[in-house]
């Protein structure tokens, strides 16, 4: 039997499959569809200091092999989360990642400070510096290595929890933001969040999303994500967590070979709530086929052509 366990920084996960933020809520709704024993961790919906109702109107558009979303960080706020959802997440037989977002540096700092007393229930904090769906902050900070460095450095002072930084793909060179995160003290980077995109209704001549643009996710972005994971892994000393369009066990292996120590599954869960369980099974079968005894041994073994 393949050993699926992986270690990110100091934290051990029973397998490398993580439910991506925003595609699994806080775990409640998925309980009837998956056995949480089959996933390594769950990343909460992005939380902000104060509750947010998100964007108005239409928030989703289907695209070829993918979708655009413009939820705009609807969430109950960190306080409500800690009082109502964190215990539940911690009771699940899986790792707990808390995804944090904000408009300004202070938002991030205060939200993380608020979470710190509850550290015993949390395995890592994931800073979402890449949400394309809020007007200020977030992706703007995440696209600038300097702004990102500043923000992560400040947040770093607030917590002793493992700190993951989720990167935006909407940049010229992702290795620069990845390096900035590492310099600022991040314990891992997550690559990638969604690609900025648009869909138009030709009858009304309006964008389908009321936010005009949205974040593109799903299999369509996989080649871009894989290239960016490789780009990050080749310059970083800290682990990379791969994300973007993963829908099969073979995809998981490809991302790990490219340098990901673990992976996150987002849109696939929206298509099949039990996707992560199926994918874990496929990873096991494929690893056995390929004579891999411990999954972590393949991380970063990509043999580039010269």
């Amino acid at each position: 039997m393949v050993d699926l366990s992986v270690t990110i920084g100091n934290v051990r996960f029973k397998n490398p499959i993580i439910l991506a933020s925003g595609t699994c809520g806080f775990g409640r709704e998925l309980e009837q569809y998956i056995d949480f024993c089959s996933v390594g961790a769950l990343s909460s919906k992005g939380l902000t200091l104060r509750p947010r109702q998100g964007n108005d109107g239409c928030r989703v558009a289907e695209t070829p092999s993918g979708m655009l979303n413009s939820v705009g960080l609807q969430n109950p706020g960190v306080r409500y989360f800690v009082e109502n959802d964190l215990q539940f997440m911690a009771s699940l037989p899986t790792g707990v990642i808390v995804n944090v977002a904000g408009h300004s540096t202070e938002d991030y700092v205060e939200a993380v400070r608020f979470l710190e007393p509850h550290r015993e229930f949390i395995d890592a904090i994931e800073l979402n510096l890449s949400c394309p769906n809020v007007k200020e902050g977030c992706m703007v900070i995440g696209a600038s290595p300097e702004a990102l460095f500043q923000l992560v450095s400040l947040v770093r002072k607030e917590t002793t929890l493992p700190l993951w930084v989720k990167l935006t793909p909407n940049v010229t060179d992702i290795s620069l933001t990845a390096l900035a995160a590492q310099r600022a003290g991040a314990d891992a980077v997550v690559a990638i969040n969604t690609l900025l995109g648009m869909a138009i209704d030709v009858k009304t001549r309006r964008p389908i999303l009321n936010n005009n643009t949205g974040g593109l996710s799903g299999p369509c972005i996989k080649p871009v994500a894989l290239r960016m994971v490789e780009a990050c892994a080749s310059v970083l000393d800290i682990p990379v967590i791969g994300c973007g369009g993963i829908s099969t066990g073979e995809d998981v292996l490809a991302f790990m070979i490219a340098g990901a120590s673990a992976v996150q599954i987002g849109t696939s869960t929206l298509i099949h709530p039990s996707a992560c369980e199926t994918i874990t099974e496929e990873v096991v079968a494929l690893a056995e086929d390929l004579n891999i005894s411990s999954i972590s041994e393949i991380v970063g073994t990509l043999n580039l052509w010269r």
């Binding site: 925003g22 595609t23 699994c24 809520g25 709704e29 998925l30 009837q32 569809y33 919906k45 509750p51 109702q53 998100g54 108005d56 239409c58 928030r59 989703v60 558009a61 289907e62 695209t63 070829p64 092999s65 993918g66 979708m67 979303n69 939820v71 609807q74 799903g218 849109t267 869960t269 929206l270 298509i271 099949h272 709530p273 039990s274």
Partner: protein, 257 residues
């Protein structure tokens, strides 16, 4: 307890030039579905498509949906041969809350008649008195109109080529109020129609449920793409609720149109 199933298309009936009535074999959904709930069904597109459950046959183990052809996904469904397999999740959503001691006034527009059909069967089964009003653009757009010429059903068409000429509001005004006093109104159809039906019902002091249609992804409440605005005392004065999980049925008084 919704689950994912692989189901087989058992029957496909063309009910009008652009609408098909499809039945699938899936005993679990047939057994558990409640009126107002929906299924999400694979087509040959990326996302599953949501459809209100229109009928269940617990003995045969089938459930049915009415599908109006809009674009590629619905065209694929409507033209699939018997025997085609689909992935389905369901029953999803909350369904109508029905008090068995109150009569029902069912107001459907277009494909809204399909989910109401299930509610009507439920009312018949449980001997709940009901009155039904359905509106269509024209006779070619109408469904289930053959058996409907009885006293407690009115059909209206905008074109006037079948039943009453006018929309459902015109038809509602024709019903003597005594017949529907104390009824719970359940309406499914275009948003603008439901909004008018709701304000008509509110003006008459009737409780009204509306079934909202929003674009969806997960269908189970995890992704928050399908929200609708509802009234709330809390900041910022409204709450975005999930159509797929908190709905699709909402009290009209709750909805911010």
């Amino acid at each position: 307890m919704a689950k994912e199933y692989t189901v087989t298309l058992k029957e496909s009936i063309r009910v009008n030039p652009s609408t098909h009535f499809l039945s699938f074999y899936c005993p679990e959904i047939a057994l558990n579905a409640l009126p107002g709930q929906f299924v999400a069904i694979s087509s040959n597109q990326f996302l599953k498509r949501p459809f209100g459950i229109a009928q269940v046959d617990k003995d045969k183990g089938t459930f049915s949906i009415g599908v109006r052809i809009v674009k590629d996904g619905t065209r694929y469904l409507a033209t699939s041969p018997i025997g085609t397999e689909f992935e389905v999740m369901g029953p999803l959503g909350n369904g109508f809350s029905i008090e068995k001691d109150r009569p029902l006034l069912l107001v459907g527009g277009g494909t809204g008649v399909f989910p109401l059909r299930f509610l009507q069967s439920y009312a018949q089964e449980h001997s709940i008195p009901f009155y039904s009003v359905n509106g269509f653009r024209c006779v070619d757009d109408a469904c289930f109109i053959d058996g409907e010429r009885n006293s407690n059903c009115i059909v209206a068409t905008d074109a006037g080529d079948f039943g009453v000429k006018g929309n459902v509001l015109d038809a509602l005004e024709m019903i003597p109020f005594d017949m529907i006093r104390g009824s719970t109104v359940c309406t499914v159809g275009p948003e603008i129609m439901m909004k008018h039906v709701a304000s008509w019902a509110e003006s008459k002091g009737l409780t009204c449920y509306v079934s909202l249609e929003k674009r969806m992804a997960c269908g189970i409440g995890v992704c928050l793409v399908c929200t609708c605005k509802t009234k709330s005392d809390k900041e910022p004065g409204y709450e975005n609720k999930r159509c797929c999980k908190d709905g699709p049925v909402f009290l009209s008084a709750e909805v911010i149109w």
